[in-house]
Symmetry: C2
Subunit: 477 residues, 2 copies
């Protein structure tokens, strides 16, 4: 006997976006809370998405010559303190190990919040000559930041990420690498996660502790808030001077290296949820979905139904990642469950379909159903997955563009951010005082100075003085 | 101009095996020491081996239904203390986090030495009914154990591993899974790492803290010492009772689950080094080698040599992972360097070879050279890689068998372990006192009670009382 259970409805996005988000994360079984405050458990549905992200990004990194390494998770306090800005930025939010076994340590160790200092320490040992450069290292690991308030994926005490750290002979090479990796992130997000990105540079106020310049990719969520989705930093020779990373150049002169670092974390899964999700739950772009199609047999107890369903599974497994749900739940329950998990395509197959040599394909993104012949089902599913991938990107781009506004005065700025949340493009004089004033008045921060500039006006939206640059502003996660 | 450098010779195995090991690890650039005592840096050559191990093992796990997750790296002290034997085993060797940012924590957190307690905590929340079972979770992560003395790969404060944790309805299923995963490890080690394994059960003295039974795979290193290479534990319902992990069975009765855990770590890379390595450095089995073949052009400045070398690279890249070393070092230097790194096949190609439409293939394992036609070079390299893989396993098995002895008296035992280090098969009464006495007299520990039993005699080798089981003994890393 089927044990009937109805999928509990989730809060609707329109009623309470934050609650909708938490509901989806829990009901799609992406994460679970743990006994450790602020630390989350990535359950199989959530971790499988991260595995796909890793696979795709790792391949792209390696194509640019990057090699993977693994560095210790502990940083001695004295090493963390070597670069002044860096320690100021991170020391207040690290976890400290003070005891090993039953003994008190002579020097405290922090659990890495990021690993610049460790990579610098390594590079100072292994870089001697220009022949040793560039070093293009990356690691996949977890890092810890002692956050007060946490939210699944978006902000947690421990999170998974990758951190690339490179060292170059010339300043220009470091700048090129910084931009190159930002482009790798942006392309990956657009092509695989179907999330369009604004690429730009952070203001000095928003840049990374110790960086000469920080570049960012920024996405717009369904609720009109921005999410910083990946960053790439050019350190110039600041860390090299603090850590003494020098090489002998071709003329036998001692020079400092120029360094970069760049990172993308499980936070991006939060973006996938908040860009594509709907009131039935998660919606996964096919290229990142651990399961791309689920076959749900209808009246599976009838002779021949499961047999045919298995045949179809066999066929589809050649073109997609597919499962057959032959559990003893009702088809309706299965529909809801797989929608909640965001599986892009559902294949419905019952006795009548089989008699007509056909199946029904339901798209997760639009709910649309089409009937296809079993002879060409592999081709149809392939086409549909492509279609879904493209239209998710298209939809996200339209949503973002429709929620990107301009403002030439503070009144307009304040009204817009209040009434129609989204990105605001507005001019800025470059003065941090204006950034602070805008934040105080509107809650919006400068997201980035985009590479693609427009001249909205010639005056700073805040102080009215001569504008230097156009900035994307927004409330951010 | 070529900058000539000779590869510094490494200590020979015969002179000082421990120093040889350290030399190989450093010279092959597998690891580097870090500023954190006892923590090692996995450099690209070392991490790439671990990536291949992960890829192969992960696929094998998933074929048995295992799913990956990620659990927090911190365990609250109270959670670690929940299972009595477990906390006794691990508490003396954990790192304690006592401060977050500038605040003292209300409860200390330990950095996970292993994650049984976290998985139990999760299972107690998500397992309700027999329908929720089995849970077959695994994670790839790093763990920390506060070791006094450390050695690269073999024993370090932080190391990378995978830990599988499963929960089952029935006791038999847990036992089956424990043995199944031990077999996955043993097959992987033999087929991929070319290391033959003895499978067996640990004595009570040697079993895991909190386990009902621990199974192990044991390998013999070149110097006659044993290395525990992977373990699989059956917990029975001990942890389930401590953590209250219960499910309702089909008759609506509340039952405790039965659990297992199993782990394999970067330690296994130490085994690869110590089983296959020689006085020229690392020797990697082709199936785990990040680079399987290196093309070294001879007189590369001559017209057409590099062009042909690139053609050969193109051909070989279809059947193997291949690089072309066209750096400005001398061929002799390149030979030494790639031998040190353990690359299985070297392809030598000079003007005379090209004129004869041939190349020379040199095997890393035997040093043997063969001349092959460029027309069939892809097939020849494929065959050679297969050959090397098989003969490495064969050689390791012969070495192990030749260094496996029997002893029926303590005199014989002591003489053997002193004069011809290796495994000793000897009978045991089952009494821990004899285990302790043997260890004290000989330095050897009971490695395992092998699944394949032989009756060497009917008396315990130590006390002479009636023997219960045959045990493999040895000095161990």
């Amino acid at each position: 006997m089927a044990k009937e259970k109805l999928v509990t409805a989730i809060t609707s996005m329109e009623d309470d976006f934050a609650q909708w988000y938490t509901d989806v994360v829990k009901k799609a079984e992406l994460i679970d809370y743990s006994s450790v405050r602020g630390c989350m458990i990535l359950r199989p549905n959530g971790y499988a998405i991260w595995e796909n992200i890793q696979k795709e990004l790792d391949r792209r990194f390696k194509e640019t010559g990057v090699e993977n390494v693994y560095m210790p998770m502990f940083i001695p306090e004295s090493l963390l303190q070597r670069e002044k800005d860096h320690v100021e930025g991170f020391a207040p939010e690290v976890a400290w190990v003070t005891h090993g076994g039953n003994e008190k340590l002579q020097e405290r160790l922090c659990v890495r919040p990021t690993s610049e200092t460790l990579f610098c320490d390594l590079y100072s040992n292994i870089v001697q000559s220009y022949r040793d450069l560039p070093k293009l290292y990356n690691q996949w690991c977890s890092v810890v930041r002692w956050e007060k308030t946490t939210r699944p994926f978006l902000r947690s005490m421990e999170f998974l990420w990758q951190e690339g750290h490179t060292a170059h002979a010339m300043a220009e090479e470091a700048e090129e690498r910084t931009i190159q990796m930002l482009n790798v992130y942006a392309d990956f997000c657009e092509q695989v996660l179907a999330i369009p990105m604004i690429k730009g540079r952070k203001s000095d106020k928003e840049k990374f502790a110790g960086a000469h310049a920080t570049y960012t990719i920024e996405a717009l969520m369904h609720d009109g808030k921005a999410l910083q989705s990946g960053t790439s930093h050019n350190f110039g020779d600041g860390f090299a001077r603090a850590f003494g990373i020098q090489y002998t150049d071709k003329d036998n002169k001692l020079q400092y290296v120029h360094q970069t670092s760049w990172g993308l974390s499980t936070r991006i899964i939060g973006a996938v949820i908040m860009v594509h999700g709907d009131n039935s739950g998660l919606v996964l772009p096919p290229k990142i979905a651990p399961i791309q199609a689920v076959i749900v047999p209808v009246m599976q107890q009838k002779e021949g139904v499961l047999e045919k369903a298995n045949e179809v599974k066999e066929k589809l497994s050649k073109v997609a990642s597919v499962i057959l749900d032959d559990s003893d739940k009702s088809p309706g329950w299965k529909f809801s469950e797989h929608e909640m998990r965001g599986i892009p395509v559902r294949v419905e197959l019952g006795p009548r379909d089989i008699a007509n040599n056909q199946a029904v394909l339901a798209r997760r993104d639009t709910g649309e159903k089409i009937t296809v012949s079993l002879d060409s089902i592999a081709e149809e599913v392939t086409k549909l997955l492509d279609d879904i991938q493209n239209s998710l990107l298209e939809k996200a781009r339209k949503h973002r563009d429709a929620h990107t506004y301009t403002a030439t005065s503070m009144e307009e700025f304040e009204k817009t951010i209040k009434e129609t949340p989204g990105f605001i493009k507005a001019m800025w004089c470059g003065d941090e005082a204006c950034e602070l004033e805008i934040k105080e008045k509107t809650g919006a921060t400068s997201r980035c100075m985009p590479f693609e500039q427009e001249e909205i006006s010639d005056k700073c939206v805040c102080c009215g003085k001569k504008a230097k640059t156009m900035v994307y502003w927004g409330k951010a996660y």
